[in-house]
């Protein structure tokens, strides 16, 4: 099919006759693909009759299109897990009609399973195993052989010297298939299954859970404990077992075909040995189950299944799968979520909202880009205008109430989502409901949240709009009018140093002076630091920087583009002025002084200064961690700047890494010797990395946190201030948001910074991070 598309593009319709000649078999294959993919969707006939019809069509096409059909069915097993039982039923019907085909399908699935495991596609591997286990229910696979596969999986827990995430995965894949096949396996092999579950229980008891605190959205246990995912799934399976494996939520079309299917001959799964662990293997990270609703939250209608019910697991799994399949198409995704089969028996809107926020708040990062969830929720509100907005409002209210114990990173994501969402709905919100935050200290989570939300709302609109949308009582939380603060303006004190020079520079700029001309003009600026007149006026001169930059920014204050133009035009001057580290730090200080009421402007200008290499990341780190910025340290925009800086830095490191790898390959080719001393290259990289500013950030954090801890200790005060919680979670955030790059430095981090002598509170963050990959 893709072949045909390409020829369309290049021919631009110039050879229609050629298309017609070669397209027939392709057309049939497309039709098969379409028929198979679309079965189970809305139709005038029942699902059973559609499956029956499709099985007939496919059986007839087997002689000519068998391999294509096999490939399509394997693909839907892997890519459409939300329609699992529809396709297992289809395979069951085909197997009943054609035993050999059934056998070939099982073989193809096993091959596919091996490939996915080799390619680190672990979530797809879960779907494949689940598919195989449901094929037991369809009389395609014999139960004892499935049990044998599960036994092999669970024996991974006996392997030595493996990362915990490896054995975790193999236990997970067995447990997560049991809602589908537990009943059947227990009926046929209860002794073996009991032994299996005992082994799993033993493993779960002894495994490490150091990673859990780092992944929890809320630190409090009430009202909903944030459980580690394997613990939760185990509890759900235990409850299912107690209920004698009676599970009523999963749609099982094969039940209607029982008389046909039980006549079929079954196949045995070939013995399957889990591939051995290798260093290339990247197992899924552990996660914590996000819960924000329970049966008390949905006021009318169907009751929400309990947190340890297997129904809850299945519903959440299916909703996650739908999002995974359709995240690029927000309208389709919303429609698919809202047409979830069995939706009349559950409070579907609540499940959807919970699953979406669960993904948005997932640590270290959401499965998809944040803005997707905003767009998806807007589509859902459009499709269900009478019910979904209310659930969303209820959820927002609940999260506001629990801000005190919410992880700082998650608060960031919440306020980003909320402000963007409001901007699509004329900023309508019942702010008075949140009047309780007005009586609290402004650094507390609730007023802080409201303040940051209003700041973000203002960025998407304008200052007066924000004044208009909140009640007058909220005025203390309204952001400052984002105007600049020019110190050399008309109201300036005539004795202000540099005042006259600022006018001169301003005129020069307006008269289109060149960089050299400006530098000449600036030569006359006295240096307040001039006790050591060693370099004749070319060294760091803070007054020069202030006079020039304040004036330049003032002339260019009209818009981002004006400011970017100005920085570009006078790049040379700025480079000269910031030649030293002190110069780089000072330019940031001056920038901050000038634009302190317009954090968004500070953010974009810092980005430009880094990209044009006027300042470096170390300077940004020094500035953010400096005492002058302490009062803004917990503000959202500071962390926006910091994370953006780290991202740019990491891209740079990745670039160097790539160049290093390429250079290595070149050298090896040239010299063709194994004893080539490439230790030189390693040393170079290490130097680069230790110079690297990632370490600066960690170093500064450690200093800041240690100071706080020591201060509290000596004065006998509790360390757990709001500031401390914010700061330590920001440190966690650095690890989590940039974990891909940081993994590469672990050795350096441990040797240089996170040593055993460090305060255990700070060291704990590092250890929790390490535990994520063990």
């Amino acid at each position: 099919m893709s072949r045909r598309r390409h020829s369309d593009e290049s021919d631009a319709g110039s050879q229609p006759h050629k298309r017609r000649r070669t397209s027939e078999p392709i057309e049939i294959e497309d039709r098969l693909e379409s028929l198979i993919c679309r079965v189970g969707e809305k139709s005038t006939s029942s699902l059973e009759s559609n499956l029956e019809g499709l099985a007939g069509v496919l059986e007839a096409d087997l002689p000519n299109y068998k391999s294509k059909i096999l490939r399509i069915l394997c693909a839907v097993a892997r890519l459409l897990p939300e329609k699992l039982a529809v396709y297992t039923t289809l395979v069951g019907l085909l197997n009943a009609r054609n035993y050999n085909f059934g056998g070939e399908f099982v073989e193809a699935m096993i091959r596919q399973l091996k490939e996915t495991l080799k390619s680190n596609l672990y979530s797809e591997a879960v779907y494949l195993v689940r598919f195989l286990s449901d094929l037991v229910n369809c009389h395609v696979i014999a139960a004892p052989s499935m049990v044998a596969m599960f036994e092999n999986f669970v024996s991974v827990t006996q392997e030595e010297d493996i990362p915990q995430v490896r054995s975790d995965w193999y236990v997970y894949v067995v447990l997560s298939s049991l809602p589908w096949v537990g009943k059947e396996l227990y009926e046929k092999k209860d002794v073996e299954m009991d032994r299996l579950l005992n082994q799993i229980e033993g493993y779960l008891k002894r495994r490490q859970k150091t990673h859990v605190p780092m992944l929890q959205v809320w630190t409090a246990e009430k009202p909903h404990p944030q459980e580690e995912y394997l613990d939760c799934l185990w509890a759900q399976v235990q409850k299912l077992k107690k209920d004698r494996w009676q599970e009523r939520h999963i749609l099982r079309p094969y039940i209607a075909f029982d008389s046909v299917l039980c006549e079929a001959l079954q196949h045995n799964l070939p013995p399957f040995t889990p591939p051995a662990h290798s260093d290339d293997a990247v197992y899924p990270m552990p996660h914590v189950v996000f819960r924000m609703f329970d049966y008390t939250d949905a006021p009318e209608g169907p009751v929400m299944p309990g947190s340890h019910s297997v129904e809850r697991f299945v519903i959440e799994e299916n909703l996650h799968c739908i999002i995974k399949s359709h995240w690029r198409e927000r309208k389709t995704c919303a429609a698919q979520l809202l047409s979830y089969p069995g939706k009349n028996k559950i409070p579907l809107n609540y499940h959807i909202v919970e699953v979406i926020f669960g993904e948005l708040f997932q640590l270290p990062s959401p499965p998809h880009i944040d803005v997707m969830y905003t767009a998806l929720l807007i589509e859902l509100c459009k499709l269900q205008p009478g019910s979904l907005p209310q659930v969303l409002a209820q959820a927002t209210e609940m999260m506001y109430m629990r801000l005190d114990t919410m992880n700082t990173t998650c608060i960031d994501r919440l306020l980003n989502w909320f402000s963007h969402h409001l901007s699509n709905f004329q900023f309508r919100w019942s702010w008075d409901d949140w009047a309780d935050c007005l009586t609290q200290d402004i650094e507390k989570p609730k007023p802080k949240f409201v303040k940051e939300v209003l700041d973000k709302c203002m960025r998407l609109s304008y200052h007066q709009r924000i004044v208009d949308i909140v009640p007058p009582s909220f005025s203390a939380l309204i952001p400052a009018d984002p105007v600049c603060s020019y110190k050399y303006g008309e109201e300036a004190d005539s004795s202000l140093p540099g005042l006259a020079m600022a006018t001169t520079v301003g005129n020069a700029i307006k008269n289109r002076a060149s960089n050299e001309e400006i530098l000449i003009v600036l030569k006359d600026v006295p240096n307040p630091n001039q006790d050591d007149d060693d370099d004749g006026g070319d060294g760091f001169n803070p007054l020069k920087i202030e006079v020039f930059l304040q004036t330049l920014l003032h002339l260019a204050a009209k818009s981002f583009s004006h400011s970017f133009s100005a920085l570009a035009k006078f790049h040379e001057v700025l480079k000269t002025l910031t030649d030293s580290d002190e110069g780089k730090l000072h330019i940031l200080r001056v920038l901050y002084e000038f634009w302190r009421n317009h954090p968004q402007m500070i953010s974009v200008l810092v980005d430009k200064l880094i990209r044009t290499q006027i300042v470096d990341c170390a300077a940004v780190a020094n500035w953010i961690f400096s005492p002058e910025m302490a009062h803004d340290f917990t503000r959202f925009y500071v962390w926006e700047i910091l994370h953006s800086t780290i991202r740019k830095m990491n891209k740079h490191v990745q670039k160097i890494q790539k160049e290093l790898d390429e250079a290595k390959v070149k050298l090896e080719k040239q010299h063709n010797k194994k004893d080539r001393p490439d230790g030189q290259l390693e040393i170079w990289l290490l130097v680069e990395m230790t110079k690297d500013d990632n370490l600066f950030f960690f170093q500064r954090f450690i200093m800041l946190l240690t100071e706080h801890l020591v201060r509290c200790e000596t004065s006998g005060v509790d360390i757990n201030t709001t500031w401390y919680k914010n700061c330590i979670e920001r440190l966690q955030q650095i690890f989590l948001m940039h974990h891909v790059i940081i993994q590469q430095y672990m050795g350096t981090l441990e040797n240089l910074l996170f040593t055993a002598e460090l305060d255990h509170h700070i060291l704990a963050v590092y250890q929790q991070f390490c535990a994520l990959q063990l």
Binding site: E33, S34, C37, I72, R330, R459, Y462, Q600
Partner: protein, 162 residues
Amino acid sequence: MSIKLNALFSDSYMDISQYRDQDFKGNRYEQEKLLKQSCSLYVGNLSFYTTEEQVHELFSKSGDVKRIVIGLDKVKKTACGFCFVEYYTRADAEHAMRFINGTRLDDRIIRTDWDAGFKEGRQFGRGKSGGQVRDEYRQDYDPARGGYGKLDPTNVIFTTGT
């Protein structure tokens, strides 16, 4: 593993539209090729009062913005309701097409479309009165876009504009 099930997993927000820039220097094929690799977006239906800052804040949600060029009335040199947003990477621009296109900025549903790349001169409206062509013939009253359309609807015979 080789099948991607094209039938099912569409990505329709990414498709190029029917619009082709008449002033583009090159043939249709070349323009379409650029559109399919582009990191630049045209953004339309903005209010005349929407600022670069607002555009930057919104479009930064899909990735780092490299540059914004606000569309200007050719005569008045004031904003006339469109702009170009350029990203550093194609992937970031794709996310904008999927998740920002069709949502609101300044209370208006905005529309994004692939652009072949900014060239000097393209920041100006091409309507006879100086603004965008669509505002020449518009018959409704839109206070955020200068009120009524430019031409008196009772006098003029409309031809299909570009």
